[in-house]
Amino acid sequence: MMRFWPFLVFVVLAIFLYVGLGLNPHEVPSPLINKPAPAFTRPQLYDPSKTFSSEEMKGQVWLLNVWASWCVSCREEHPVLMALSRKNIVPILGLDYKDKDEDGEAWLRNGGNPYTLVATDADGRVGIDYGVYGVPETYLIDKQGVIRYKQIGAITHENLQKKILPLIAELQAK
């Protein structure tokens, strides 16, 4: 029995290291999950004289997608958002993060606009309130205005089907 100890220790260590390799250090769990979404009021992208306030979304389940024209992964995510918006299940609010209005508009003109409405966060303040540290990030917010899920990085078809859509259905039924 004594002889197997080193082997056992090795196996346990190997499992730990293997699991560690699979983790993404850039996915930092958000402390905001199950906390009220920080309220914000920001100018709209297409008409900066008008504002959008997060309060307007109370009573609805909605997605807040933080994006920017300079963000590379957003390009990857964009078709997924387009497909989701065509399904008309959930309002997708875009927050154009630290971007120039012209650039954001041009980007949406080229690739299509999946958003119900786009607000701008030119100085990144709303981003700090939401704990954004890399775009794209997406928040799923429920009828009471509580953040229920945060997607760090691009939404893929897979995690849309497996996680986000079921969660939306569940929250909408409440």
């Binding site: 250090p25 930092v28 958000s30 402390p31 905001l32 700090i128 704990g131 540290y133 890399g134």
Partner: protein, 155 residues
């Protein structure tokens, strides 16, 4: 004259060297306080750099946020708590002692203790398996003779 001119041209690049530390605010005391605090905070973009030394855009914004919060009269602890509430314990370079970080903080000591206990057991076991042999009078004499042999007489 020509050489002097060329020498002057060579010196030109040293003049274009400026405008680096624009972040440094008007108030050096506040700036120092901000840097002291930010040194213990992690930049979330380039994870192993501190908020004080990172050149990432987000780090710049967060430094500005910290400055403004300091101007509003918030204490260092309040500012740290604010950042933790947004980004989680991950922003702290020193993880706090919590139920799920106990292993992280005390695990090494536990391993050391286990090692020490194992060592003591092993040593005791060895003492039992290799008993000290008592030399008989004759053997002792031979050993003494061998050990005391003068060098030149050895061979």
């Amino acid at each position: 004259m020509k050489y002097l001119f060329m020498l002057l041209i060579c010196l030109l690049p040293t003049f274009s060297y400026a405008g680096e530390a624009k972040d440094l605010a008007e108030d050096p005391v506040l700036e120092q306080r901000m840097v002291n605090l930010a040194q213990n905070l992690r930049c979330l973009v380039c994870q192993n750099e501190s908020l004080a030394s990172s050149r990432a855009d987000l780090a710049k914004d967060l430094r500005q946020e910290v400055r403004e919060k300091m101007k509003q009269g918030m204490t260092d602890k309040e500012i740290t708590d604010f950042l933790v509430s947004k980004y989680g314990d991950f922003v702290l370079f020193d993880p706090p002692v919590k139920s799920y970080t106990i292993l992280l903080w005390y695990g090494p000591f536990a391993l050391l203790l286990i090692g020490l206990i194992g060592l003591v057991f092993q040593l005791r076991k060895r003492k039992k398996t290799i008993p000290e042999t008592q030399l008989s009078a004759e053997q002792a004499q031979r050993a003494a003779a061998l050990l005391n042999t003068p060098k030149d007489a050895q061979t």
